[in-house]
Amino acid sequence: MYVYDQFDHALVRERNAEFSDQVARRLSGELSEDQFKPLRLMNGLYLQLHAYMLRIAIPYGVLSSVQMRKFAHIARTYDRDFGHFTTRQNLQFNWIKLADTPKILEELAEVEMHAMQTSGNCIRNTTTDQFSGAAKDELDDPRPWAELIRQWSTIHPEFTFLPRKFKIAITGATKDRAAIRVHDIGLHLTPKGFEVYVGGGMGRTPHLGHLIKSGVPGEKLLSYLEACLRVYNRYGRRDNIYKARIKILVSALGPDEYARQVEEEWNTLDQAAIDAPYYEIDRIRSFFPDPAFADKAFDQAALDRAKAADPAFARWVRNNTHAHKRDDHVSVTISTKPVGLPPGDASSAQMDVMADVADSFAYGELRVAHDQNIILPHVAKADLYALYQQLDRVNLSTANAKKISDIIACPGLDYCTLANARSIPLSQEISKRFADADLTDEIGELEIKISGCINACGHHHVGHIGILGVDKQGIEFYQILLGGRADEKAALGVITGKGLPAEAVPAAIERVVRLYLQLRTSPAERFIDVVERLGRETFAEALHEPA
């Protein structure tokens, strides 16, 4: 993975010193809250419902075991012994003291991490496929390009005060696991260069991104992105926060006209001054080699015997492993979603175990997926049972990847000042309702995504079943959306039926799922396939209790 050079170290050191001084001035009263708020937000520090929340950037979701162990230490020392992995592939600590933040940022800098650009109207952490560099279906590794974008965008003076925040996602595989069509810019890395999708996003007015250019060569990527950002920075709506995202501009201009303006801008730019030279791209690429894969003797018969003797292990292998480019390896999903617990939460003890197993079985590398799970990208098949047993001791062996209980949920009204309704308790109740692992397996792939407000941090627009919490005269209500998906066939879900009170939602979901089981033509036909074949209205009646 990328290793900081002297410039990265100096930048983070100087920024931490600056913020440390700002915190001291706020505590002394020299800075007012109005003066301090934008400064703390630029360093990832929010004041939430109960306490300060520190959001730490995990560049494109890639973590070392050393960094994970540092998170465990911070959770134990400065927080309430746990952290929360987010849909932006970042980590949030929910109980931080203001005076501790300079020390925490110093500790993060020791392991080449920071909290810059995790808030504010700037280019945020670039996200990517959690199986980058490992997946069997990968065309090219997106991580070097994500790192190039990180270096280009970090405190980019022209793009520090955009009309609104700006999110870029990259995938380099045939399957889109990075949800590129619902990002401000989505990049699909192909053998013929980048396909550039612009104007996607969720929130109040969801849009799918439009393909505005294909075949952008890697060595021209930065100047093309700069042209995209420049047109947005110039014409994006600054007068109305609800119309300030690039999706609104692209929609207003039309994708063709936006693309024309970008092309015109691109041709006026001094591209050579912006684009990274070949040797720099090669230098960055050199940080992402394959690990020194161990040639461990793999005994298929021994694995089969272990699975036969331990059905829970067999289920975990079936559900939580992903095809690797090497036949003797797999990628492993560590589910942070045991039945009844908050999605994305991990205790310090669990973080330590994840770091330990990464060292023992995964070449020291971990990933944070946008579905809030943790990935070990490279695991020898010979090590699977030993790995499973260690994870099982700390409740990290739930075999539900991509299943109905693998729910994305934003923090919701339990933590977030913006939320209208709680998300996590609902996800807990739904996962308890589908606690039967056999039933979960029978249902197959089904993605539920819950947001506690219209800002859609829980990606409800692209859930096979999306759930949106709303406030109805002081009562939490939930609207159900059906038919969304974030993959290469991206689609936005549509609100179906009337809003439901929280206590009615799990039963409504179960009725929909039972109907799906009746209607599917075979177990291979997934819930989303049936919704697309028969239409979401087929399920509308099932959402409501029979009269």
Partner: protein
């Protein structure tokens, strides 16, 4: 009647105004007449080295926040309603949750 609440500057924890001081336990918050509440809020808005963003919550006759505020203030007063942090504020004061 109203309750005055804010977050503490140093750690962001939820505070309630009670008999001349700020406390973490919502169960003992003072019920303020509207005018007195407004005057206290104005006083504390200026004292930024102690609390952040003080505001008033309208309460009903039985002392609970009015309906439109109830869920949010229930969670603020008692702590998150989930997992390892369930009602941690209520637990800290060894009491049942307030604003049920």
């Amino acid at each position: 009647m109203k309750l005055l609440t804010a977050n503490r500057l140093t750690d962001g924890l939820v505070l309630w105004y009670a008999d001349g001081q700020w406390v973490e336990d919502a169960a003992i918050a003072t019920h303020l007449e509207d005018a007195a509440g407004e005057a206290l809020k104005a006083e504390w808005v200026a004292r930024e080295t102690e609390v952040v963003a003080p505001y008033l919550i309208p309460v009903t006759d039985d002392g609970t926040p009015v309906q439109r505020e109830l869920v949010r203030e229930f969670v603020r007063a008692n702590g998150p309603t989930i997992g390892q942090t369930t009602f941690d504020t209520a637990k800290q004061f060894n009491r049942d949750e307030v604003f049920q």
